[in-house]
Amino acid sequence: MSLTESVVTELKALGGKPAEFKQMVSVTVDVSDIVNAVQTAKSAGFNMISDVMGVDYLNYPQHQGKRFSVIYNLYSITENERMFIRINVNDGDSVPTITGVWHGANFMEREVYDMYGITFENHPDLRKIITPEDLDGYPLRKDFPIGETPTVFNDGRFIDPAAFRAGLTGQDSGLSGHQGGMRKGYSADAPMPDAPKEA
């Protein structure tokens, strides 16, 4: 029996549901069991965490169940096998962190938090990793606006595409503006710039 098969059997006992597509084995477990499941796989021989990633199934055709999945990509160097452990979560749910099992999961979980807004409980340093701290929203969610829309930041700053292009041509000085609250470094009595025009 291969390592993957034995881990799948152990995870089945935890209530895991295995699936296979093109020789890639994945097991779906409960959110509360994830640390246990990952620890089980690690002690069985999956000694490397390759990746933690999120997927937003909002627009996936005929998708049933919870909106997001978090997928843990595990690899065993000794047995040369790979398996995936998945959990399904809804918007606003939080997931126990696995940084206690592998330190390497730190950046991976931060990236999932940054891109999907899924929070990880007891994570040592859960901050946005790639996008600016004040960016409003989570970019890889399927309902994040794309195309000709202003990029909005939490404190009211925004980047308006039309103004951005105008700034590039040199016709207009405005690259970005401020709306509502004042950004750090700007005095409170500075004149309020115009809001982006509705398209």
Partner: protein, 413 residues
């Protein structure tokens, strides 16, 4: 007027350890910001360090200054168009990213890639690995204060980029691979030019060895610095040459061969030292191994098709469009909407110049990927900077950053 307190050293019966623990000698941690615009941070990496004197006590990399949103963009492009974006992530090893992406897409489609296309892919990826390592040596040793090697490595890198220019017309951002093969066959004269390069290159490796590998200053500067044990490296998810320098022999070209790597005879260099010097030396040996692979692939190269003959994946040849109605239909379908892989999720690990690189593709049955997740090695390798630098001196941090070889485009995606 206040009388100054006598120095603790003048008191009778005071030992050195008493002085070290005396409250007057306690220092406060100083928080220092390095980068993002700093020549030794290889782009726009910002590192916040807490220093006790000159000793690093805590270190946090701050990234994201080069975030381009490639993953989101690729969700709105057809599978074939995505090749344009993948190589822009790691601009020093673009062919490696292209290869990782097309392998995943081909696994979704069950595409049959012709042997010649696979061989050309291997040749270009390995040449690109050498070019990437050359930049690593040049800039890495530049960070430690030796300027000369940079000019030598750039000289050889230019020769490799000339070869790439022959093949696909550009020196960076290639976009030459296609799902199902290559965009076109390699030009006449490429094989001879490549052979000319590989016959001259071993001499250059010897030259580099005399310039830095056997250089006392370099050896003294790097030996025993930033030691990562194998367990530590695995715990922090380190992959690639840096992991092999910590005596873990993991190379996906050997472990899970793709694109015909099982047909070539090459070794996986490892080192048991785990320090900065080992990370440089492993890459040095890797260049020679890559050269061996390129040589064997050039020998095995035989004429043949370079695209999957399946009309649902590859465009039909131009001359067929004038005689065959079916060819026109396939051409129209491919050019307007592209192919529709079946639903499912795939992942193919490859060995980039920096470590494990793979694209996790989620297909919803449409002509564009539903989700593209690049498992980029630089981002995850960067976590090992903390264990490598802790309790070392601040000046060694620069050597450690250089030895982990992060490419910021690969980190921020």
């Amino acid at each position: 007027m206040t009388i100054p307190k006598p120095s603790p050293l003048t008191q009778p019966g005071v030992t050195v350890s008493d002085i070290e623990t005396a409250s007057e000698f306690e220092t406060k941690l100083m928080r220092l910001n390095v980068g993002p615009q700093h020549p030794s941070t290889h782009g726009v990496l910002r590192v916040v360090v807490d220093l006790d004197g000159e000793t690093v006590k805590r270190l946090v990399p701050q990234i994201g200054y080069l975030h381009t949103g490639f993953e989101k963009t690729m969700e709105h492009r057809t599978y074939q168009q995505c090749v344009t974006y993948s190589n822009r992530m790691d601009y020093l090893h673009g062919f490696g990213h292209d290869l990782a992406y097309v392998l995943s897409a081909e696994k979704l489609l069950d595409a049959q890639v012709p042997v010649r296309a696979q061989q050309v892919r291997v040749i270009l990826t390995e040449l690109n690995r050498i070019a990437s390592h050359l930049v690593f040596f040049g800039t890495g040793i530049l960070d430690m204060g030796a300027l000369t090697l940079f000019f030598y490595t750039m000289r050889e890198r230019e020769q490799i980029l000339d070869l790439f220019e022959m093949v696909c017309g550009v020196r960076m951002n290639y976009g030459y691979f296609r799902v199902g093969g290559l965009s076109k066959d390699i030009p006449e004269g490429f094989v001879e030019a490549a052979r000319k390069f590989i016959s001259g290159f071993p001499k250059m490796i010897d030259q580099y060895a005399t310039m830095f590998a056997k250089n006392d200053i370099f050896v003294g500067r790097t030996t025993g610095v930033g030691v990562l044990t194998g367990e530590q490296a695995l715990d922090y998810g380190l992959t690639g040459p840096s992991l092999r320098a910590s005596d873990v022999s993991l190379d996906f070209r050997k472990a899970q061969p793709y694109s015909g790597y099982e047909n070539y005879d090459f070794d996986v260099p490892t080192s048991d030292k785990g320090d900065v010097n080992a990370r440089f030396m492993v890459r040095m040996e890797e260049m020679a191994e890559s050269l061996k692979i390129v040589e064997q692939a050039l020998d095995a190269l035989e004429p043949g098709p370079v695209k999957d003959p399946d009309r649902r994946i590859s465009l039909p040849p131009r001359q067929e469009l004038e005689t065959s109605m079916e060819a026109v239909i396939f051409h129209f379908k491919l050019a307007t909407e592209g192919f529709h892989p079946p639903r499912g999720e795939v992942y193919v690990p490859t060995e980039s110049a920096r470590g494990e690189l793979g694209y996790y593709l989620v297909s919803d049955g449409g002509s564009m990927p539903y989700r593209v997740k690049a498992r980029v090695p630089s981002l995850i390798n960067l976590q090992s900077l903390e264990p490598a630098c802790i309790d070392g001196v601040f000046a060694d941090m620069v050597a450690n950053i250089a030895s982990l070889d992060p490419v910021m485009g690969d980190v921020d995606k």
